[in-house]
């Protein structure tokens, strides 16, 4: 089996596992993690296409590689937004329950020296 095909199959596996994770898990953090797995699989698929499109002395087609770089940054932004939502929700829940959340409640953080 050729290298790209192997990675292509790994990408398919990542996509399947990730999709199942997103659909089956109820905890938001795991869902976001699983979404990232699907994303990694999809990016890898672009990479396989790029590798197979190697030409003109390049190790791979630069267009899909550039798309993946854009995609990775977008996926990071998505993860960040999701994490911010999750943390905010945790703070509100903790406030509603009347117990300050460890590491989440800002007031609990010790004052820091500034140099």
């Amino acid at each position: 089996m050729s290298g790209p095909l192997l990675y292509g199959l790994a990408a398919a596996a990542l996509i399947g596992l990730g999709l199942h994770g997103v659909l089956a898990h109820a905890a938001p953090l795991r869902r976001v993690l699983a979404f990232n797995l699907v994303g990694a699989g999809v990016f890898l698929l672009f990479g396989v296409g790029a590798r197979r499109g190697a030409a003109a002395g390049l190790p791979g087609d630069p267009v899909p590689q550039a798309l993946v770089i854009t995609g990775i940054v977008v996926a990071f932004a998505a993860t960040a937004l999701a994490m911010a939502l999750i943390r905010r929700l945790a703070i509100l829940r903790a406030a509603a329950a009347g117990t300050p959340e460890e590491g989440a409640a800002p007031a609990a953080a010790p004052p820091r020296e500034t140099r």
Partner: protein, 308 residues
């Protein structure tokens, strides 16, 4: 030899994914995911995409910080798993079908694949660039890159909008809870090295693997490390200089793009002989903005802490 390496790597990817998905606690899941990110970076090198490998490795670290930060908070949000066994079976079946379909498509896809490599290389001379990926990102598909920085900015605004009322212009909480002595040591040793590497990545990006995303991520990571160690306080989000830094990158990009209307007569076209200069200006401005935005996204919304 290489085939074995590919086989092992390709096998390790789904194994790590399975571990990460089924780990007992959130923290292990996140650590498994970070390990998967490193394996992916290796896979990208094997696929001849060093630019992507660098991006994956760099962004992977930031994602790890984000996820670990949320992992501790997430426990209280956890909802019991719902759904009937039938539904869960159906979901598993659907996911398996998609995976199988993708596998069939990959196996049957044309090899060699249709490619724009030749076309991308053909215009490198006119752009005075040596790295075709940079040419794609900043010339052929520059609009994607421009809008993608807008995506990051929107994400940042989204994160800021999650602050409590009246706190949103204040400083965010320092990351990582409490700092220990080794972290302080690391935060003193590493940033100079990291900055040199970042500048190097940015500088060679025109001709070799590297560029603004990788450099920006590295700078953001160094800044976060300094904040984690408590060597500096997180900045106030309402600060004029910080806001100016954030807006400068996309603004410079748009300004040079609009200037293209005047000189070559096309949006985002670079005047002849000035292409490389224009691209470097854009890259430097974007690196600074992206570094600030990426770090601020990780830091999260303001908490109303005021610096004295």
């Amino acid at each position: 030899m290489n085939a074995t390496l590919d086989a092992v790597l390709a096998l390790m990817l789904p194994v790590m994914a399975l571990f990460s998905l089924n780990a007992r606690d959130e923290r292990s899941a996140v650590i498994g995911f970070m390990a998967l990110g490193l394996l992916l970076a290796l896979a990208w090198v094997r696929l001849g995409a060093v630019d992507v490998a660098l991006t994956e490795a760099a962004i992977g670290a930031l994602t790890g910080v984000l996820l670990l930060g949320a992992a501790s908070a997430a426990v209280s949000v956890a909802v019991p798993r719902t759904g009937s066994p039938l539904l869960r079976g159906l979901l598993a079946l659907a996911a398996a079908l998609v995976a199988a379909g993708v596998a069939v498509i990959v196996a049957g896809a044309p090899d060699p694949a249709p490619s724009l490599a030749a076309a991308a290389v053909a215009h490198l001379g006119a752009l005075e660039l040596g790295n075709p990926v940079t040419a794609v990102l900043l010339a052929y598909r520059a609009l994607d890159t421009l809008l993608e920085t807008v995506v990051v900015l929107l994400a940042l605004i989204g994160v800021w909008s999650l602050a409590g009322e009246g706190e949103w212009r204040g400083a965010p909480a320092a990351p990582g809870g409490t700092a220990s002595r080794p972290v302080v040591l690391l935060a003193r040793l590493l940033p100079p090295v990291g900055l040199v590497v970042a500048v190097h990545l940015l500088w060679v990006g025109a001709d070799a693997p590297g560029g603004k995303f990788q450099a920006a991520t590295l700078i953001a990571a160094m800044w976060l490390l300094v904040l984690m160690a408590g060597l500096r306080a997180p900045p106030e989000l309402g600060g004029a200089r910080l806001r100016g830094l954030i807006a400068a990158g996309p603004a410079v990009f748009i300004a040079i793009g609009l200037a293209g209307f005047l000189v070559p007569g096309q949006f985002l076209a670079y005047p002849e002989g000035w292409a490389k200069a224009a691209i470097i200006v854009i890259e430097v401005a974007l690196t600074a903005s992206l570094a600030a935005m990426l770090a601020l996204i990780v830091l999260g919304p303001g908490t109303g802490e005021r610096r004295t």
